[in-house]
Symmetry: C2
Subunit: 560 residues, 2 copies
C-alpha cells in the first residue's frame, strides 16, 4: 500500500484555506499514485477552535466543505479530520452536538466516519465540552485490506506503553483486535519538550507489538500559544520508521508501507533546537494568521528582549521588526549600547524614546517617592514599566505592529513583572521558558557566530527600575529556583517530592506559595497567550482562581 | 423531620474558615434540635478551586478537615459537600483522582458518601477535568426514613421539567425510584438573571411530582467573577416552599418538613434588584477574600463609572472608595462637575489628576497626530486611556487599593475599550451588564432619591478621547445593538434567529463579526475577571481562540 501524508498548517475557521491544503495533499497522492492520503485531526475546521465548536451554525455547516474534497478523491482513499453532527435523537437525550471524526472518502464517495472515543480534558484540552464520544469502533475495507482509523487520543492509551493511563479503554487496541492490517492515526498533538521522541517511541512500540504498519499524521502550525509541530511518522510492521516528516513545516510526502528502508532524514533534534524552531513558527503563525506583517518590542539591554528580537527577526524578517529603547533615569548606558549593537547584528531598526520626562511629570503630579538604592518603591518602579508599555502599544496602534512581550516563565511564575507594563502584548514569546532556558537558547543562537552580544548574555539580570537594582536582590539565583519551578510546573511534583531531590525545604515552600499567591495569579490571568513548549504552561491549560487561600505548609513530624 | 440548612460563604482553600462555618451550621442544628443539617457542594474546600483539584496534596489531604466536623455531629446527621479521593485501582485504570461528594455523617461517625454522577462541562464548569463520575446511587437510612442525596447537577436533569437535557441519566429520579422519603440536593449554583425563579420552579416541580420533600441548599458568595446567590429552598411533599433562604447572604435556618406553612419572606425579587445585590456581594467578596479594604476607580463623568462608584460605596463603605478624575484636553468641564457632585452624594473622596502634561509630552516625543473632530486617531486616543490606567494602577500599588474597572458588556463585546487603559483592574464590575442594563440599574439606584446625578444618566455617551466625540458616532445606538448582543450571548441565538426577531440582517452580521474579530478577542483575553450575571459572560466560561477566520455571512437564496 502506498500512502501520502498531508502534514498541513490549518487556521481555525478558514474553510477555504484549509480545504485548499487538503486538496493539495490529495493532488500529491494522485501524482504519486498513492492508495491512501491521510490528513490531520479536524483539518477542515482547525483543531483549536474552542467554543466555535459549540456554535450551532458551525455544527450545521460542518460537512459542507467536504463536498469539494469528496469530488477530488477519484482513484484513491482520503482520511480527513472533520467535525460532524451527532444524530438528533442522541443530542435530544443529552449528547453533545458534534463528533470529532475522521471522514473516510474513496473514489468520490463518502464511505463513513471513524469517531473519536477518548476525549482529553487535561491541560489545554476540553474535548468533552464539545464532542460526543464514539459508541463503537470498526474497520474500513480498502482493496482487501482492513484499515483501522484512530482519532488522536484514541491512539494514545496503549496499556503496554504508558505507566500511567488516563482512560480505561484502548480504542487502537480494539481496532487491532478486530483485525486491522494498517493503523491510521490522525492527530492534533501539540509540541512540548521531548514530545517528538516520545511519539516516535510510542508509534514504533505499537507497530512492533501489533505487527502492522502505523501511519501517524500530525497537524503543524501555531494557534495562539499552542504550537503543533508536525513531525508525522510512518512505521512499518516491524516498527521501523520508514517516513519521518520534518517538524515545524508543512509537508506532503509519500511512502510504500513495504519499502523496508529506514527514513533517517528528520530524526528529532535536541531539545534546544526544537524549542528554537517552535518559537519561530509560533511567532510567524500568530503574526501571519492575525494579519500582522510587522512587530514591535521593547529593548531593555537584557537577555529576554534580546532573544525575542533574534527570534522575531528570524520569524518575520529583520526589516519588519522595530525595537524600542526606553531608558529611564535608572537605565545604564551599557544597556543602550548593547541594544544598539544587537540591532546592528540582527539588521533590525532600533529607536529611542526616553521615558524620563513623562516619568518626572507623573511622579511629581502623583507625589510619588522616587525609587532609591535598595528601597522598594513599587509604585514608581511599576510606573516606568507602564509608561514603556503605553509607548509600545501606541506604536503598535499607530503602525499596525504586533507587540511581542518578552517576560520569561520564571518571572511570570513569581510575579516579577509589571502588569500593563512589560507584560503588554499580543503574544508572550518566552512565557514558557525558564530564565535558564532563555540563557541556553541565547547561547544556542550564538553557536556559529555572535548574534546576541556576549555583553548581554553575561550581564547581571536587572529590571533597572531603581538605582543599582538587580534580580538577585529580590529573587534567589535562577540556577537555584528554576529547577524547582520546572518540577512544580512540568512534573507537577508536590513540595515534598521537590524537597526529596535535595532542595531546601523552606525555599521550596516559600517559592511555591509565592507562585500561587492571589497577587501573582491576578497578573497571570491577564497575560497574552504564551507560546507553549512544556507540559504545563501559564495560560489556558493552567486554570487557577485568583481568589483562594490554599497555602502549602510543611507537615512537621510533630504535626503528623 | 427537622432540617437545618447552612447556606455558607466559603473561600477556596480556606479549610479553617470553611470548617468554622460548617460547625456553625451544626451548632444551629443542635440548638434547634434538628435531625438533619445540610451544607452546600464542596463546602469544605470551596467549589471554584479549579486546578487546585488536580493537586495531589490537595487530594491526599481532602478528608482531614472532616475529622473536626465528624466529632461535632453528636445527636444529628450532617450532609457536607467535600471532595474525596477515588479508589487507587480506579485511578490506575485511568480514572480521575477525586469524587465530588456529599459526606453523610451521623453521631460522630462517617456513614458514607453520595458521589456526583453528572459532571457539568459547559460555561464556567470543568467538572470532568477533576472528578470521577459516581458508579451508583444509593439511599441512606435515617431514623427509619430513606434519604436520597444528590450533588448539584445530579438534581438538575429532570426529564419532566427540562425541554432540553444535557445528560441521559437522571440520578435524582433514580433516588426517588429507589424509595427516597426525602431528597437532599447540595449545590454550588451560580447566580444569573432569572435563575432564582427557575430554581424555585424546578424544586417545587420535583417535590410535587415525586410527592416527597426536597431540601435544596446552595452556596453563597463571590468567587472571582462567579457569584453564588444562596437562595436555598425547602419544599414539602406538595411542592409548597416552606423555607426560602434570603439570597446573597449567609443564612442558617431550621424548618420542620411537615410544617404545612408557606414561607414567603424571601421570594425572588425582580431582576434588576437581584443584579444590584449580586454586584454588591461580588465586589465585597472579591475585596474581602483578597484582603483589600479599599478600592480606587477612575471617574469619567459617564454613567458606567458613576454606577461602579455607587456599587463600590455600598459594598465597601464610601470612606474606602477613592475616585480619580483624570481630565485630558478633550474632557468637558461638565464631566468634572458631575463627578464631583456624585462624590458628594455618595460621600466618596474624589481627587483630580489631569493627564494633559504627560499626554502632551508623550504625544510630542512620539510625534503622534492629535485627535481631531471626527478623525480616527486611534493611537493618541488610546494613549490617554493608558495614561489614566497607569495612574490608577500607581495609586492601587501605592495605597493597596483594589482597582475596579468600569467597562460594560456592550463595549467589551464590541471592543469599544482600550486594553491596558480603561480595562485595567482586578475586577470588571459591569463587564456582564449591557449598556441598557447599566442605565436600568442606575435608575434603580435613584428609585428613592437621586444618588447618581440625573445629568450623568441623561448625558450622551462619550469616551471624550477626541473633540466632540460620542459613542453613537462609532457604534449604532445601544437600544438597537443591546438586544442583538443579548440574544447572541445569552440565548446563543444564530444570526438568522436574531434576524427573524425583526433585526436588520446587515446590522446583525456586521455586529456579530465585529464581536468575534480577533482584534477584539485579543482584548477580551486579557480582561480581569468579570462579575457574572448572565448565562454567557465574557471570561472563563467563554473560550474563544484569538486566532481564527470564522466569519458569519448570510446565505443568500442564490447560494443555497
Amino acid at each position: 500500500m502506498r500512502v501520502t501524508i498531508g502534514q498541513i498548517n490549518t487556521t481555525n475557521g478558514d474553510y477555504a484555506g484549509n480545504t485548499k491544503r487538503i486538496l493539495r495533499a490529495i493532488e500529491k497522492g494522485k501524482k504519486d499514485q498513492s492508495d491512501l492520503v491521510v490528513l490531520p485531526e479536524v483539518a477542515v475546521q482547525g483543531y483549536m477552535s474552542l467554543d466555535w465548536f459549540l456554535d450551532r451554525d458551525v455544527a450545521a455547516h460542518a460537512l459542507e466543505p467536504l463536498d469539494e474534497i469528496i469530488k477530488a478523491t477519484q482513484g484513491l482513499t482520503a482520511i480527513v479530520g472533520t467535525i460532524r453532527p451527532v444524530e438528533v435523537e442522541r443530542v435530544q437525550q443529552g449528547g453533545r452536538r458534534l463528533y470529532n471524526s475522521a471522514a473516510i472518502i474513496r473514489d468520490g464517495k463518502l464511505i463513513g466516519y471513524a469517531d473519536k472515543t477518548l476525549l482529553p480534558e487535561y491541560d489545554v484540552f476540553d474535548d468533552p465540552r464539545y464532542f460526543e464520544s464514539a459508541r463503537e469502533r470498526h474497520l474500513f475495507k480498502h482493496d482487501g485490506q482492513a484499515l483501522g482509523v484512530a482519532v488522536c487520543e484514541d491512539f494514545w492509551n496503549d496499556k503496554t506503553y504508558w505507566r500511567e493511563r488516563l482512560y480505561t479503554d484502548d480504542p487502537a487496541d480494539e481496532l487491532i483486535s478486530l483485525g486491522a492490517d494498517v493503523l491510521v492515526s490522525i492527530n492534533a498533538s501539540p509540541f512540548n519538550k521531548g514530545k517528538m521522541k516520545q511519539r516516535c517511541s510510542m508509534v514504533t512500540h505499537r507497530a512492533r507489538a501489533a505487527k502492522i504498519p502505523v501511519v501517524f499524521v500530525n497537524l503543524v502550525g501555531g494557534n495562539d500559544g499552542v504550537i503543533f509541530d508536525g513531525a508525522s511518522i510512518v512505521a512499518d510492521r516491524n516498527g521501523k520508521i520508514i517516513l519521518q516528516a520534518p517538524p515545524f513545516e508543512e509537508f506532503f510526502g509519500t511512502v510504500d508501507l513495504d519499502v523496508d528502508e529506514a527514513d533517517t532524514r528528520c530524526l528529532p533534534g535536541d531539545d534546544i533546537e526544537t524549542i528554537h524552531q517552535a518559537l519561530v513558527l509560533g511567532i510567524r503563525d500568530y503574526a501571519r494568521k492575525n494579519r500582522f506583517e510587522r512587530a514591535v518590542l521593547g529593548l531593555s539591554g537584557g537577555i529576554d528582549s534580546a532573544l525575542v528580537s533574534a527570534l522575531a527577526c528570524e520569524a518575520l524578517g529583520a526589516e519588519n521588526v522595530l525595537a524600542v529603547m526606553m531608558p529611564s533615569p535608572y537605565s545604564s548606558r551599557g544597556s543602550i549600547d548593547d541594544s544598539i549593537a544587537l540591532g546592528c547584528r540582527l539588521g533590525m531598526k532600533t529607536i529611542e524614546h526616553p521615558i524620563s520626562t513623562a516619568f518626572e511629570t507623573l511622579t511629581n503630579e502623583l507625589k510619588l517617592k522616587r525609587p532609591t538604592r535598595g528601597g522598594e518603591i513599587l509604585a514608581a518602579e511599576n510606573l516606568q514599566s507602564r509608561l514603556r508599555g503605553a509607548i509600545l502599544m501606541t506604536i503598535s496602534n499607530a503602525e499596525a505592529r504586533l507587540l511581542l512581550s518578552t517576560g520569561n516563565k520564571s518571572e511570570l511564575a513569581l510575579g516579577y513583572c509589571t502588569l500593563y507594563g512589560d507584560t503588554n502584548g499580543g503574544l508572550a514569546v518566552l512565557g514558557d521558558l525558564l530564565k535558564t532556558e532563555v540563557y541556553a537558547l541565547a547561547r544556542h543562537f550564538n553557536r556559529d557566530r555572535e548574534i546576541i552580544p556576549r555583553a548581554i548574555i553575561g550581564k547581571r539580570p536587572s529590571a533597572e527600575l531603581a538605582p543599582d537594582q538587580f534580580d538577585d536582590q529580590s529573587l534567589p539565583p535562577y540556577d537555584l529556583i528554576d529547577p524547582i519551578i520546572k518540577m512544580y510546573f512540568e512534573q507537577k511534583s508536590t513540595p515534598e517530592e521537590i524537597v526529596a531531590t535535595g532542595h531546601d525545604r523552606a525555599l521550596v515552600y516559600d517559592l511555591l506559595n509565592r507562585i500561587e499567591s492571589p497577587a501573582n495569579e491576578f497578573k497571570r490571568r491577564q497575560l497574552p497567550p504564551t507560546l507553549i513548549i512544556s507540559r504545563n504552561a501559564i495560560g489556558i491549560g493552567r486554570r487557577r482562581p485568583v481568589t483562594h487561600r490554599y497555602r502549602r505548609a510543611p507537615i512537621t513530624a510533630a504535626m503528623r
